[in-house]
Assembly symmetry: C2
Homo-oligomer: 772 residues x 2
């Protein structure tokens, strides 16, 4: 740390007059690097384990190749999209509708998120055979391999995100004024509002990457899964993961693509977005509204302390996440609930650590309202906890809702479907109540009554608090597909039944953590979007004043001070009241967009699955001896089909997410955009929870029947439940999680295109201009 | 009309100084009475037709008795609820939290809506056998009987609604100042804002009645339908409407209960609500904001003209609806599309009549902005048309979406379900776009930029325009179940195949009109709620000033002028900006409530159907010779089960609709309530369309297969489609339509409990008070 402080001193001296950063700020880059070091450590540790016999290696290699082939293809498409958006941003910044730094920051955000996906997938696909082999020794050994491989993903995500944010901040705060004096970032005034507003649009890179990872991954995994099941299980009557099924490798690849890379990119975006939005809101709260200023400190110095708050929380979370990984151990005769308990121990202790340690850290940081901010952190943690528990209640067959579905399956598939849809629609109640309570508590405790922005800063802190232990929660998420693949490897390579039993146990726990992870992803997306939504208005205010500034310069040929606009008169100017028809138009459109987008992703799975079904049928028909185990199925072909379908099918939904906010902005103005974002957020939250939980409940109702209830496997109840599970697949793994991305991406698109929207009639939209 | 004008003169002279009503206003009560006279005429005409042979009479009698038994039971429950609410309103008015007239007006609203249900059901259940008998002569004869019976329902609804509104207005405007001078309604000042605000809460009676009719009816009809199908069609392999099935009478009763009485009450509420809200907004626009005043006329006189505008449109619509009934004729060899064309002729010509004739009428009325208001009428008509066409596209098997579902059914039931859900979720796009466009056009054309309230008045006018031809559109809706029942009667009484073929043709057209009717009901609910939402704020403003008035009187013991609060400073006071966390809390809760309520109604159907399944199985098991046609099934028992289940199951959803707005109001204040209403409205609209259209599309995909595609009846594709249809039943006939009621009822509850909410911290809610 000594060396870093020296570097800081050098920068401030050679650059412009910059106040020093609070010492605690440096925890950010330091822990980010620590996270990456531990990720490498866990990766090496895992790679040293033996991968088992030749057949295991062969299968693992096939999955690995499939996954990498998918990633290559995806990154090619992503590359094209990034290139197009990069050029658009360049053009926008040429016309002064965007800060010229944004196009480049956009690239790094996308790059780091993409790297996370790459490392996460590489680790997961290397770990599955090793986990299977380790499980042949003991349950704990298997658990350790799978969890630590998952931790690589978790730590890479938090490490890269925090590193990206802190490095760019250093560059913008110290570097740019030195390299380009009097350019881009104003030197003399308080530069923090401008810097944080620019950094907001970094999220756009992560958002775009997440869109492709989550939506594409979701389509891939379910096309392969549904295709493999419909022909393999139903028509050919061969078990799951049977090596004779040509789609089985694609199915295993899909688990990695959807649940490792997709989930990681989704949460990378939330994690980065929440920190960036919270920083922007904190700075705006103290510099614009003036309240929250620390006695004896300038607005700049106060702003730096507020910026540091989310960084400190993230840093603390990283340390605790690493410790939590070491806390997870299990006995070899552990049953299901003991396994869950050992994972929960890690989660609970890291959350408890945040709750206890954040208070002194925030105090040391010198936040004047440290107690209030600490309560916001607690609120975020509690919201995460409540959503997790609620998800468990609605989707685990230990509880009534899922058992009710199984009971209805005993009557008919139609009643099981009706019951499952009802369970899904009901299950939004508690999470939404938790999110609402979390928003209200953090807003008011942080002081939202006197200072709107400080209240929103509190909401942002709640989001950061909820996501602070992401390093560990993501590890338990990524652990699931690794255990699942380990089971697939054990099955395909014909290992002893006891091994498969152990991996099944690990996998079953993975289903629970995956369901909780999905709830967590949705909840954090909601809180993050709330913060982004508020930060969006900040961005608009800034763009507006910059635009005027430029206009004035052009007209008068001289420099005038940028207009002073308070949040209050700004709110008058952009009437975002519910009775403004532009807001209502936005709200209605936002709700419809959430449904429309879900329809697109659902149907994409349907189309992609149809292609897979046809290919598997063709192979069964044309490859001799395939069902007898003598003919070799063409795995690669199925992998290629899923890969191509995923890339093809995600273009249309992606366009919707990017184009709708721009069009609404141009037609209805800022008020319309804000309505749109709020409409998508509120409807998307309920709809996503409905779909995720209905899917999870159907899945587990099927599993409940499979353990022997209502006639067990092969009974009419089981057949009915399988239909429910198949309908639930795109619900819970494609459409539901994709909505998180839609919500966040639309907000990010609005942020980066804010300049364009403002340029049309000062943000009031064509409609407004027409009638004036 | 001469006599009426004299009566007016007498009233004004003996009562207070009241300006005369515009002559055109009197068209309201006159056409209302004309509608009722024609309803009686059509009823008598229908009753004179022969009811067929003894078996037909017997079956018709059984359905009639079942329907009346249901109504009796429902009215008993409704009676209890009305008594409780009546007492609550009395208590509220005792504490000056409610105008003392409201409790009584609440009763008449409920009474008239209830009478509509009674007459409509009585007519429909008397018409079915007669329609079947007439169809044995010719297709046209059957059509005439069914349509004119439907017209009774249509005309009774518009007649009673308009009569209720105009009579109360006369009483409040002329009668009360005379009977109770200086009481309840102020005499000297312009009383219109107060009168229209009081009249808004009339809708509460209609809303409560509609809740029970629509939700209870929806549960009844689907419990009977699913129960009859699951045991009869699937297990016992007997055809639909087979007299051996004990649930078949209940099923036929259900058609009447759900599609006649339920739909009627739903649209009664929209019709009355749109007129009441538009009147309130018109008056507020000219008296508060001042713009729109007619030169040379006082605010009172101008207000009367604005109040008359929606009345004139409704009156014109009634006349055109009656004419349209006479326009519908068909040849006996008419095919499906010719039948639809003959019904469309009536609809198109009545809409065209409104479009052409409303312009001169609005001009004669003396509206200064008659051209703008006329464009709002057109906007409403076009929105209704677009929603109807879009619904037809998504749910008729003449088009791609439904055929795609049938194609997917050929793969598996799961893919058919996924496709159907996708079709439903996609189908909201066009209707929502239409509603948004309609709102924007009418708001801005009416002058919303300069006068917010005038813009909202325009939105209200659009709703009234859309609903103006309700007399006829409701006739085509109610015609459906009558034709359906006629088919059932023909089947059960063993009439010639040709008769059943004719009634099937009539019924198939009924399916299309029913689907269009549902879209229409949802669209009008959205526009009406928009207007009610705005009118709600008006109500709050008024309550607030009254409360202050009373407070001042109590404290000072003297009279002071009520505070002058403009809409603008009022909006500042109640910050309904999207960034107010109370608004966001409301929005989130509103979205979740729409999903939660749907879950409740779906599950209610599931539970009620299970009871029915058990009863039918029991009868098949215990009644000897029942399947051979020698044992007599116990129809009444099934009717009683559906009736009891419907009443029992609707209590919980009803409580949600009534309690949630009150709780949110007390906790989060006015801003929270407005957020809640907007959230339920925007999410409910998309969700309701999704469910209605998915259900309709599944139903027709099944029918498409039944006409011989993909293997026809009994094929695997057909079995898969039947599962889709069964899942779709509660979607389209219970949960979807119930959302219309939820949206409107929650708004009405907010209106009538406004006083209570305002009493808590001036409408800012407990949360706000806690942090101040």
């Amino acid at each position: 740390m000594e060396g870093n402080t020296t570097a800081l001193t050098v920068l401030t001296q050679t650059g412009a007059d910059r106040a020093a950063l609070p010492l605690l700020w440096w925890l950010g880059p330091i822990t980010a690097i620590v996270a990456l070091i531990f990720a490498i450590h866990f990766y090496k540790q895992m790679m040293q384990k033996p991968e088992g016999n030749d057949k295991m290696k062969f299968i693992a290699q096939a999955v690995r190749e499939g996954a990498m082939a998918y990633l290559q293809r995806q990154y090619k498409v992503v590359g094209i999209v990034f290139a197009i958006l990069f050029v658009i941003f360049l053009v926008l910044s040429f016309f002064k509708l965007q800060n010229p730094i944004v196009p480049f920051a956009f690239l790094t955000g996308g790059l780091f998120s993409g790297l996370c996906g790459f490392f996460g997938m590489k680790t997961a696909t290397n770990a599955s055979a090793r986990a299977a082999f380790a499980a042949s020794n003991s349950l704990n050994a298997g658990l350790q391999v799978a969890l630590r491989a998952g931790a690589v993903m978790g730590l890479v995500v938090v490490g890269f995100a925090l590193l990206d944010i802190t490095l760019w901040f250093l560059l913008l705060y110290f570097g740019f004024p030195m390299i380009f004096p009097n350019n881009f970032i104003s030197v003399t005034a308080n530069p923090l509002p401008q810097i944080t507003a620019i950094m907001l649009s970094f999220g756009m890179g992560a958002s775009t990457q997440a869109l492709f990872a989550r939506v594409g991954g979701g389509i891939y995994t379910k096309a392969a899964d549904v295709g493999a099941d419909l022909v393999g299980k139903v028509e050919a009557n061969i078990p799951e993961d049977d090596p004779r099924n040509p789609a089985t490798i694609a199915d295993n690849v899909g688990d990695n693509v959807g649940d490792v890379a997709g989930m990681g990119a989704d949460l990378y975006e939330s994690y980065a977005g929440s920190i960036l939005a919270t920083s922007a809101l904190g700075v705006a709260a103290v510099t614009l509204a003036g309240s929250g200023l620390i006695p004896g400190k300038s607005p700049l110095e106060t702003g730096l302390i507020y910026i540091t708050a989310p960084i400190v929380l993230a840093a603390l979370g990283i340390v605790l996440s690493i410790l939590a990984v070491y806390l997870v151990k299990t006995r070899d005769d552990a049953d299901q609930s003991q396994l869950i308990a050992s994972l929960s121990r890690g989660l609970n202790l890291s959350s408890l650590g945040i709750a206890v340690l954040s208070l002194p850290l925030l105090y040391i940081l010198g936040l004047p309202n440290f107690l209030a901010v600490w309560i916001c952190v607690l609120a975020g943690l509690v919201v995460g906890l409540v959503i997790g528990k609620s998800t468990e209640y609605y989707t685990s067959h230990a509880f009534k809702p899922t058992r009710d579905i199984a009971e209805q399956a005993d009557t008919s598939s139609a009643t099981a479907l009706i019951e499952g849809l009802a369970v899904g629609m009901e299950s939004g109640g508690i999470p939404v109540a938790a999110v609402v309570t979390g928003i209200m508590v953090s807003y008011y405790v942080a002081g939202g009554v006197d200072n709107l922005l400080m209240g929103l800063f509190g909401v942002g802190i709640a989001a950061v608090g909820m996501l602070s232990t992401l390093g560990f929660t993501l590890a338990t998420d990524a652990y699931g597909p690794i255990a699942d693949n380990a089971g697939g490897n054990a099955e395909m390579s014909g290992l002893d039944r006891s091994v498969r039993q152990r991996t099944d146990e690990l996998d079953a726990v993975g289903n629970t953590t995956a369901a909780i992870g999905k709830g967590f992803a949705i909840g954090s997306a909601a809180l993050t979007s709330m913060a982004l939504l508020a930060a969006y208005l900040e961005e608009i205010r800034l763009v507006l004043s910059e635009l005027r500034h430029v206009e004035e310069l052009l007209v008068r040929g001289e420099m005038i001070p940028v207009m002073k606009m308070t949040m209050d008169n700004f709110m008058d100017f952009y009437n975002v009241s519910l009775l403004n028809p532009a807001v209502l138009a936005g709200l209605f459109t936002g709700a419809a967009t959430a449904f429309f987008f879900s329809a697109m992703t659902m149907r994409a799975v349907g189309r992609a699955a149809t292609g897979m079904v046809e290919e598997v049928r063709r192979q069964f028909r044309e490859i001799e001896g395939i069902l007898e185990g003598t003919g070799r199925p063409d795995y690669a072909r199925c992998v290629a089909i899923s890969t191509a379908a995923a890339q093809r099918e995600m273009i249309a939904p992606a366009m919707v997410a990017i184009i709708v906010p721009v069009v609404i902005g141009i037609v209805f103005g800022i008020a319309g955009v804000l309505g749109l974002l709020a409409g998508t957020l509120i409807t998307g939250l309920s709809l996503a929870i409905t779909m995720s939980n209905a899917g999870g409940a159907w899945d587990n109702a099927k599993k409940y029947i499979e353990v022997g209830k209502f006639g067990g496997k092969g009974s009419p109840a089981h057949k009915a439940a399988v239909i429910g599970d198949t309908v639930g697949d795109p619900f819970k793994d494609t459409a539901g999680p994709s909505l998180n991305i839609l919500i966040k991406l639309m907000t990010m698109v609005s942020v980066v295109f804010a300049g364009l929207i403002v340029a049309f009639g000062n943000g009031q939209g064509i409609i407004y201009m027409l009638f004036h």
